[in-house]
């Protein structure tokens, strides 16, 4: 049993999805989805513990030996990402019960959980696999299901957002496919570890450079790197609340993981950062993304859209850590992947509660909601403080490490910029807080109650995680450090 954990991680949700399709009964599907996502979290945690104790786990599918067969590899880096994805999934599934019930027509609810499970299976699969083509397959499983999930939003704009995401996402995935094809053409292998070996003598090849470009740009589209982010704000803003939470916490993080995996493990540090100006390029895009998207976020009047723009800005911080090309910078970037997942999940969870009661997330609609839903908005405020980076929250820890990494490089203007742009986050979080607490509710509104417990508990788990990982930092900081050291050490 224990040795088969890597495959169980993916196959459980993958099998549960068609089971739900056959059942179709809303409550049963919800129960299956919830249990499966909790099992997935348990498996992910067991895998991470195993990896931290010993070395990397290699699992050969169907006993086909590695470079020929498909291999699942769990090391410190993707063990960490698996836990993030599975944890967000485990929090979203129970939350979805009431949220989905209120936002989707009855006959679609069963199908919602089918798509959710497929998306979870795809994201976990991308993370765990050690085969470059397998990444593409799982990428499309998760993408296709997320297009369908987004299109289930209540407003017709959700359809348009899903269509735009479909076009952009398919271009991104096809770019990735071209890159993998070019690599296969040069090396004759698809196994990542084998690719790394075979690519070493080919560093000067123009085809390998083209492959690198296609893969980084393709995943950049899925990751919503600054100029390629146009699909994201609409997709997150108009998707059903539970979907916004799930995608905001997982999808872009997994894409960033793929970029890291290819940059460090497959192509190698030398090739990526010394052979070509990846560091400066990422630095420029990250800084531009942080500044522009934070400013755009300030001018949004729909809170979910505001949070989505802030997500693009926060992706900039993760890339900033990567662009330093140092172990400390990478560690800060990885920490921010983790922290941003719990921060944004918390914020979107709170907005889902508000949407359940008010049917809208517009700033004028949520006026005065802080007095009527104190627990929800208190959760929002605490996660918002974490987003800004106020101690003692998780957001502070990753910003702190980012500033340290910038100073270590001697790039004090970048360090100053990290602090200054946090002030922009203060502005947009304040806009929501001001509307929720300091404005009178619109005259037409009746009394509304607090969100149901089944939604408040997941929200406060996220809030608790934000506070816990702000105070008790040894756990995730050490894992991020070990993962960063492993990535950098593998090549130096």
């Amino acid at each position: 049993m224990g040795e088969h954990l890597p495959i169980l991680q993916v196959i459980l949700p993958l099998i549960a999805a068609p089971v739900c399709l056959l059942v179709r009964h809303a409550a049963t599907c919800w129960l299956i989805a919830t249990l499966v996502s909790w099992f997935c979290l348990a498996i992910a945690i067991l895998l991470l513990l195993q990896v931290l104790d010993g070395g990397a786990i290699r699992y050969q599918l169907g006993n086909w030996v590695a470079p020929w067969g498909i291999e699942y590899v769990v090391d410190r880096l993707n063990g960490f990402i698996l836990v993030i994805v599975a944890a967000i999934g485990a929090v979203v599934a129970p939350y979805a019960l009431r949220s989905v019930e209120s936002e989707l027509p009855e006959r679609q609810i069963g199908l919602f959980y089918v798509m959710y499970l497929l998306c979870l299976a795809g994201l976990l699969g991308i993370t765990i696999t050690g085969d470059a083509f397998n990444v593409f397959v799982f990428l499309e499983i998760s993408s296709l299901s997320s297009y369908a999930l987004i299109s289930m939003g209540r407003h017709r704009k959700a359809l348009h957002a899903a269509y735009q995401y479909l076009v952009m996402g398919t271009i991104g995935a096809t770019f990735f496919l071209i890159g993998v094809g070019l690599l296969y053409m040069m090396t004759g292998t698809l196994n990542m570890a084998d690719l790394a070996e075979q690519l070493k003598p080919l560093a000067g090849s123009r085809i390998v450079h083209a492959a690198f470009g296609f893969i980084v740009v393709g995943m950049g589209l899925k990751l919503a790197v600054f100029p390629l982010h146009l699909w994201l704000p609409n997709a997150y803003a108009h998707a059903p609340s539970a979907v916004s939470v799930f995608l905001a916490g997982t999808a872009t993080k997994v894409s960033l993981y793929v970029v890291l995996r290819f940059i460090f493990t497959v192509f190698g540090f030398e090739f990526s950062f010394v052979g070509q100006p990846l560091g400066p390029a990422l630095l420029v895009l990250a800084v531009a993304g942080i500044v522009v998207c934070s400013l755009v976020a300030i001018y949004q009047d729909n809170v979910k859209r505001l949070l989505a723009w802030s997500s693009v800005a926060q992706i900039g911080y993760m890339l900033l850590g990567l662009s330093f090309a140092t172990t400390l910078g990478l560690q800060a970037g990885l920490l921010h992947i983790f922290n941003h997942a719990i921060i944004k999940a918390g914020l979107f969870l709170a907005m889902g509660c508000v949407f359940l009661r008010l049917g809208s997330c517009r700033l004028d609609a949520i006026a005065g909601v802080g007095r009527q839903m104190p627990w929800t908005m208190m959760g929002f405020l605490l996660c918002g403080l974490s987003l800004i980076g106020v101690p003692p929250t998780a957001g502070f820890v990753s910003k702190w490490y980012l500033v340290l990494a910038a100073l270590e490089k001697g790039w004090w203007p970048v360090a100053a910029l990290i602090v200054l742009t946090s002030l922009l986050a203060v502005v947009y979080v304040w806009k929501v807080v001001e509307a929720a607490w300091f404005r009178d509710p619109p005259g037409t509104a009746g009394r509304i109650g607090e969100a149901p417990l089944v939604m408040l508990v997941p929200l406060w788990i996220a809030v608790g995680a934000n506070l816990w990982f702000g105070l008790e930092t040894s756990g995730n900081v050490d894992v991020a450090k070990a993962a960063a050291a492993a990535l950098m050490g593998a090549v130096q």
């Binding site: 297009y147 299109s151 899903a162 479909l166």
Partner: protein, 119 residues
């Protein structure tokens, strides 16, 4: 010069189709035309993979007496998967276009954008 240029003709076709498809996706406002562009773009990648699998003088990868040189079957198999993905993407995209037409009454993206901006 000319020989290597003509000898790589399948790659030239790949590049031509790729750019044509990509251009259609970006420049057309009709949602169905965009999907067709996307399809052409993906098809070029299918051709690319199949070209990669070709071994000079190789035949179809079926074991047969007296034949020693086979084309590499792996890219063929890979691209079968990618074709299935492409079909799924196209059908999902078309389903979305049908729903968009029902919701907005048009499949021209600029008109949809105007209606989105209005409400």
């Amino acid at each position: 010069m000319w020989e290597s240029f003509l000898g790589l003709y399948n790659y030239w076709i790949v590049i031509l189709l790729m750019m044509a498809g990509f251009y259609i996706v970006m420049s057309r406002h009709n949602l169905v035309k965009k999907l067709i562009g996307l399809n052409i773009f993906q098809s070029s990648v299918f051709l690319f993979y199949i070209s990669v699998g070709k071994v000079a003088d190789g035949t179809a990868p079926i074991i047969e007496k007296g034949i020693f040189s086979y084309s590499n079957p792996l890219p063929h198999v890979l691209i079968l998967t990618a074709i299935v993905v492409g079909v799924a993407t196209t059908s999902l995209g078309l389903a979305l276009v049908v729903r968009l037409k029902e919701a907005y009454g048009t499949i021209e993206e600029d008109e949809i954008n105007e209606m989105d901006a209005a409400d």
